[in-house]
Every structure is written in structure tokens, then in C-alpha cells.
Symmetry: C2
């Protein structure tokens, strides 16, 4: 293999881009911070003076949006697909991050918060599925029919059914990325046109530049999965909150309504919150107890839940 020679000497240069999916929630709306009139996520190149990837990301986001980052975790690193629209010589790698914050107004920059369902209307199952669902199923049915052999047609049909919870299958809110990629393959999102797809009937849902919408889908999927087993929601909450506010925050992220009593049991069973003693009377109705997050439990126990059936002794 003559490639072996390259191993030592050449280090093929690439450009590394840092991209942030910065999320906040107000009331019942999940928000994502964008630049360029909602067409891009905050991002910038990884530079030599950045001490680490995270440090670089923080620098870019704070510069572009005047918004300091709190909780940050790495999402995924992308390099395949035609990543930039112009498509120059150099390869670009995107290292993406999920960041959570209490929403604060952005001032004096081109950054803006947008409801993330603007980009993925089909992901909000709280609204009685309207125009969005109609055009999706129509478009996908066409894509299924458009495939060559019966075998492939069946595979496409099944994939569609699983992703969108059709034919009696349950809706799974975690499959955000799978759904987006399905629509991409089916040529139903404008971004796919850059990949030489037939320009099918456009779907409701705003596109983004480069593959930022795909990155956003990755972020939403990760967050939806994570709130189930890690107390990350609290990064999005004010210091004290009512249980309804907490529930509505989770509902905003998951795009689904939750069962009130069972949700409360779910929360109290994890012993993650404690009463502040104060009451809230912001909403109509009866004043609710205010709670605060017990940050200390994160240290005390390593929440994980073994899940495997261990033997007693060991």
C-alpha cells in the first residue's frame, strides 16, 4: 500500500468549524439561537488561539450573539456530504455542540431566537397534525412508489411507517434525525436539491444553509433522548419554578403532552427537586408551590441505573 508513505509525512489540512445548537425554552416554546435571519446556527472556525474545541465554541457564540454559554456537550462531527454550498478545494469538518441556557434577550447582534418547530413543523405533536402531515405522507407515498423493485419499495414503506408512526405504530419523538434524513433522501427538503435530487413538492418547514438543519435535528434528537435519563431540563429552568412550568418545558422539547400526575410522580420519584416554600400566582387558578433543583444530588449519587441484572454479591 503506497498510502503507508503518507501516514508519517503528510497531514492533509482541513478546516474545522465549530457549530452550536443553543437551546432555550419560554413558556411552551422551544427556541434555538440563529444568525443570518434564521438561516444558520452560530458557528466559526476552530483557530490556533483556541485552547480547546469547547473554548473556541464559547468564543464564537459569545462574539456572535453576546450570549455566554452554560451547559455544553459535544454532539457529533460531520464531514461527509457536500457541506458547503460553494464547495471549494478544502475539506471542512463541522464539530457540533448542544448548549442549554435560560433564555435571555439577544441585543445588538444579528442573532435571533426562533421556535425550533419553524424548521421541523412535523415534530410538534401537540398541535393537531394539520397541513404538515398531509404533505409529508403524500410526498413519501410518491417516493415509495418511485422506487425500482418491490423489495426496495417495501423497505421504504416500512422505514416511513416506523419513522412517522404510521399503520398503528407508535410515534417516537426521538427519531428527529431519522425523519429528517428520510425526507432528505426522498427529496422533500430544499437542502436535498444541492445533492441533485428531483425538486419535489416543497414541505412546510424553513430550510437552513449548509447542513445546519441536519445539525439542529441532531441536537433536538439528543436533547429529547437525554431528558429521559439525565436531569438536563433544569439547565433550561429559572432558579425556581412550578411543576407545571417544568412539565411544559419538557412538553415543549418532546413535542408531546404529558400526563400530569404521572409526570409529577416521575419527578418526585427522582428526588431532583425540593420546595422553596414560596408560592407562585402568575397563572390563573390556584397558586402553585415553587420548587428548586437540587444540584447536590448530581454529586451524591451517580445517577445511572444499572439496568443489567447483577448478582447480589459482586
Amino acid at each position: 500500500m503506497n498510502e503507508q508513505v503518507l501516514t508519517e509525512a503528510h497531514q492533509h489540512p482541513v478546516a474545522a468549524d465549530l457549530v452550536a445548537v443553543l437551546v432555550a425554552v419560554t413558556g411552551v416554546e422551544p427556541l434555538v439561537l440563529t444568525t443570518q435571519e434564521g438561516g444558520l446556527l452560530p458557528s466559526g472556525p476552530f483557530q490556533l488561539d483556541h485552547r480547546s474545541l469547547q473554548a473556541g465554541l464559547r468564543a464564537w457564540v459569545e462574539q456572535q450573539t453576546r450570549h455566554p454559554l452554560g451547559y455544553v456537550e459535544q454532539l457529533y462531527t460531520f464531514a461527509d456530504r457536500d457541506r458547503t454550498e460553494q464547495g471549494g478545494e478544502q475539506r471542512i469538518i463541522s464539530i457540533s455542540y448542544l448548549a442549554l441556557t435560560r433564555q435571555t434577550p439577544v441585543s445588538g447582534t444579528a442573532a435571533a431566537w426562533h421556535n425550533w418547530y419553524r424548521y421541523f413543523p412535523w415534530e410538534d405533536r401537540r398541535v393537531s397534525s394539520s397541513a404538515s402531515d398531509e404533505s409529508i405522507t403524500t410526498g413519501l407515498r410518491q417516493w415509495i412508489r418511485g422506487s425500482g423493485n418491490t423489495r426496495q419499495r417495501q423497505a421504504r414503506a416500512q422505514r416511513t411507517q416506523v419513522c412517522f408512526g404510521l399503520e398503528g405504530r407508535p410515534w417516537n419523538e426521538d427519531l428527529v434525525l431519522q425523519r429528517y434524513e428520510l425526507l432528505y433522501e426522498a427529496g422533500l427538503v430544499p437542502e436535498a436539491r444541492r445533492h441533485g435530487a428531483t425538486p419535489a413538492a416543497p414541505l412546510p418547514g424553513a430550510p437552513m444553509r449548509d447542513d445546519h438543519r441536519r445539525i439542529l435535528a441532531t441536537g433536538i434528537a439528543r436533547l429529547r433522548a437525554k431528558i429521559k435519563y439525565r436531569p438536563v431540563v433544569f439547565e433550561l429552568m429559572p432558579p425556581s419554578f412550578t411543576l407545571l412550568q417544568l412539565q411544559q418545558t419538557v412538553e415543549a422539547l418532546a413535542g408531546r403532552f404529558l400526563h400530569k400526575q404521572n409526570f409529577r410522580r416521575f419527578i418526585e420519584q427522582q428526588a431532583l427537586v425540593e420546595e422553596t416554600g414560596a408560592l407562585s400566582n402568575e397563572a390563573a387558578g390556584r397558586p402553585a408551590k415553587l420548587f428548586r433543583f437540587r444540584g447536590d444530588v448530581l454529586l451524591e449519587r451517580a445517577l445511572s441505573g444499572s439496568k443489567l441484572p447483577l448478582v447480589r454479591g459482586a
Copy 2:
């Protein structure tokens, strides 16, 4: 901000390295594929002729080890810390992957399989914790004492207790990376010396070059967490296997013994396997039924388990 100027024009070049944590299991041993006498994981630079990151990874691993990859998933992208020992001008980022395979002998290359507990002896709780545990607790106690104020000392003590399941706390097998990083911070692994730590008493457990041992820890942690909710173990199994073999494979990965009957219920409850009809009489004792993995279920249902208390209607 004059950095803004850089955004458009400059793309600071970095080198992107692809690193694979390739795992297999034989009998009761978890194995990882290495090069350089066990000092490195298979790796190589991302090149212009690689169609995607994964494609590049596959190319490198197949070239270095003659071993084709099956299941592959991205792990994490590293860039912080002094990544290379020489530390040149250029920044290097490592994009790491976890790969699973049925073990096959490697031939005619410098690659070799090693039991991964060679690098992390303390992670195997199946052997009655011997020399390894002794020197760890001693070393960490010293590190705790060595901290300035009482507050920090307490924090270190608590972190140690959670990570290593001390003071009545349960052992959590998922905290592989946290444990390694703790030992790194405490200067108890040789790799830390590159970071200017006091050369403390060396711990049992082989080091690796660059930060490959950290990447390996990341891979093990991911795999241990994942086997609990995704049927990835089957990537490591032969086409047909007994339930004991399956259990021992999981035990090898988790480093813990499992409860036989409950493990079987756990498996059958997920309906992931079916009997082949044949029997195995390789081991002593009564011949066991052979099973095969039902790959079809992966398509049928999107296994996920909502976990959130949804309302009936929606």
C-alpha cells in the same frame, strides 16, 4: 472584534486524525485491536480522497490490520490537551469511532488483540479486586490529602467515592472515563506526566501513546452504557450462540457477573433472539439450546421505550 475579519477569509488548517476502538470478545475476554505493540489504536489521517470520515476510518483500519469493519459508530472528537508527544505547530484533532466485530485472527500485520483490562485492570470487577484496588485507593488518598483547602479536599473525596463506589456507594461500571480522568488528574497514570504532574507511584495498567488510552476509556464507557438499551452485543456474537455465551459476553464487557435467570428474562423479554432448533454440547454439562439474533425486529419497531409519561390520546 477583529476576529470577525478572520471568519470569512482564513480557514485555519488543522490535521484530522481518525482513531478506531475496535472491539471483539472471545469467551470471557473483551479484546481491543492495537498497533505498535499495544501502544496505539489503529489510526490515520483523514485524507482528501476519503469520501467520508467513516470511509477514511475503514480504509485505515483495513490497511493497518487487514480487518474489515462491520458495525461502526462515532465516539467523540478530541482536540484539547497536548495531544501529541512531540507537539508540533499544527493542531491535531482526533475523531474517534467505536467498532464492533466478531473476532478473527489478524495475520501478517503489526496489529494485535489485547484484553482491554490490560489497560484498565480496575475495571474488571469479576476478579476479586486485588493489587490494583490497593494501589488506587492509596494513591487517591494521597491526592485527596494533597489538596489545599478543606473544601477542595471534600470535593475530591466525594468524587473519588462516587467514581470507585466507596463508602457503601454502588460501583457503576459506566464511569470508565470519569475514573480514568480522575486517575489522570491525580497523576496516577504515566500519561499525566506529559502534563507536568508529579510522577506518583505508577498504577497497574499499561499506558498508551498520545491520548489513546483516554479514547479507549471513552469507547468502553460508551459500549457499557449502550448494551443496556440497544442490541449491540449481537455484533460481537457468532451467528448462533447459547444464552450462557451471550451472558458471558455481556459480563466481559461490563466487567461484572450477572444473575443468570434474570439475564435470561431480560433477553427473552426483549424478544431479540429465537431458537435455531440445534443444540450445543461444547461445554461440560447439559447441551444448551442455540439461539440466533432476530435482526428483523430492529426494523419492525423502533426500540426506544418512551419513558416519559405520555397522555393517552396523543
